[in-house]
């Protein structure tokens, strides 16, 4: 029998194999990856510095050990160039393996905007452990770091490095941190605490040029101002890798389109993780990947299973001012209400029927995450909680 082939050795690829092995030790599985195949935790890249960990220390299990533990064949440093869906065969840099079923777990690319200046190519981004190793090398002797983008990854790195004594600037065309995840009153809570540990926020503008300077780089911003940095990091978002699927004729949109069974427009091909768009939503976070991996493993083991996502809050690793958020879809109808404020804020998103369908907890309220998660789907009043509604803002 041809094996199940999984492309990609990130959290998505390894999780689906790990879950499958709990159900079926026998079915042949082959993992193809263009990277080393070593197992590491990607979320730890943005809080590794404070923990004194370099790239090598973040590898938890070597590829050889993973292959042994899981009982699979791994071809690392192997790039897949094409999928012949009719023949169920791949073209790769090392051979043309055939599959019975195929799982795409190929992740996403950092979005890069074109920049002017002689050092535009020096801008870094960190989306895997190899990027991180480069960055840590560049950080030797560096003092000033400029981060483009004040989203989750930008804020996490800013906190990690400012706490370690680097001078960190965050440049973002929006008006407050974490703008794609939460309303202004909530995201703004991060400003003062991070400024207090040395983060220099530059909102309402963007980087237009990066030029070499005597030491490091000079950044010229769209508002005409300039700043100096030894390292420039771009963290402005991710774009699912769809080219491989698209070329093979699979349905794609922002991500590789799959249904609740993680099945693409070809019944033998599945996708999950940062590359996938599940029923219209791309959710590039750990929790959705774990749930999708469990459902897909069952399907691959012969029991067709749809993924059911519970409320999955995202924790922003900014220890200086912790944040937990259950984001709402961009087109969700409802209002954000402030339930409490103090050293941080507690807000809930109420849908048309007044049920809690999203929340943000920052600072002192971040610890209420599991309690708040349990209240999702219930009306604000029916919980018997004496929530003090401080203010409402329509979205």
């Amino acid at each position: 029998m041809e094996p199940i082939i999984v492309i990609g050795s990130g959290l998505a690829g390894y999780s689906v194999i790990r879950e499958l092995r709990k159900l079926d030790r026998e079915v042949p599985v082959m993992l193809l990856s263009r990277d080393s195949g070593d197992y590491y935790s990607k979320p730890m890249l943005s809080n590794a510095f404070a923990q004194g960990k370099g790239a090598a220390a973040l590898v938890q299990t070597s590829v050889v050990e993973m292959a042994k533990q899981l009982g699979i064949t791994v071809r690392s440093h192997t790039e897949v160039h094409g999928i012949d869906v009719a023949a169920k065969r791949l073209t790769t840099t090392q051979g043309e393996p055939r599959y019975s079923r195929l799982v795409l777990a190929i992740g996403a690319d950092p979005i890069r905007i074109p920049l002017q200046g002689d050092a535009a190519d020096a801008v870094m981004s960190v989306n895997d452990i190899a990027d991180y190793a480069h960055l840590r090398e560049a950080m030797q002797g560096a003092k000033r770091i400029a981060i483009m983008g004040g989203g989750l990854i930008g804020c996490e790195f800013a906190n990690d490095w400012a706490a370690a004594g680097f001078i960190v600037s965050v440049i973002d065309p929006g008006s407050y941190p974490l703008a794609s995840l939460m309303p202004q009153q909530a995201g703004s809570q991060l400003r003062a605490p991070l400024a207090a540990i040395g983060v220099d926020w530059r909102f309402g503008t963007s980087v237009s040029r990066v030029d070499s300077a005597a030491t490091g780089y000079t950044l010229t911003l769209a508002d005409g101002s300039q700043l100096q940095a030894d390292i420039v990091l771009s963290a402005i978002g991710l774009r699912p890798r769809i080219a491989l699927a698209q070329t093979a004729g699979l349905a794609v949109n922002r991500g590789i389109k799959v249904d609740t069974h993680l099945r693409s427009s070809d019944p033998a091909i599945f996708a999950l993780g940062d590359c996938a768009e599940i029923e219209g939503r791309v959710q590039p976070f750990v929790l959705p990947i774990m749930h999708a991996a469990r459902a897909l493993a069952k399907t691959l083991a012969g029991e067709d299973t749809a993924v059911v996502f519970p409320a999955m809050p995202v924790v922003v690793k900014t220890p200086t001012h912790p944040v937990a958020v259950l984001p709402v879809a961009r087109d969700a109808v409802g209002v954000w209400q402030t339930l409490a404020s103090g050293n941080g804020i507690k807000m809930a998103f109420l849908d048309a029927a007044d049920r809690i369908s999203g929340f943000v907890l920052t600072g002192e309220f971040a610890a209420e995450r599991s309690e708040m998660t349990k209240r999702v789907g219930t009306p604000l009043a029916a919980t018997g909680k004496a929530d003090n509604i401080v203010a409402a803002e329509s979205s």
């Binding site: 959290l11 709990k22 979320p43 730890m44 938890q60 749930h291 924790v315 995450r369 599991s370």
Partner: protein, 54 residues
């Protein structure tokens, strides 16, 4: 008292601190956490928690 870390997301469980917001009291040993418990950050089940002692 030991400290355990989730290999998927880096979540730290410190036996000394427990997880009061989930009803796990300080000084609760890893072995005494219910088997149906899941990592609060990434949802990995305790049974497959490949936690490391740090």
């Amino acid at each position: 008292m030991k400290v355990w870390q989730c290999v998927v997301c880096g979540f730290i469980y410190d036996e000394k601190v427990g997880l009061p917001e989930e009803g796990i009291k300080p000084d609760t040993a890893w072995a005494d956490i219910p088997e149906n418990w899941a990592c609060p950050d990434c949802g990995v089940a305790k049974a497959d928690f490949e936690m490391v002692e740090v």
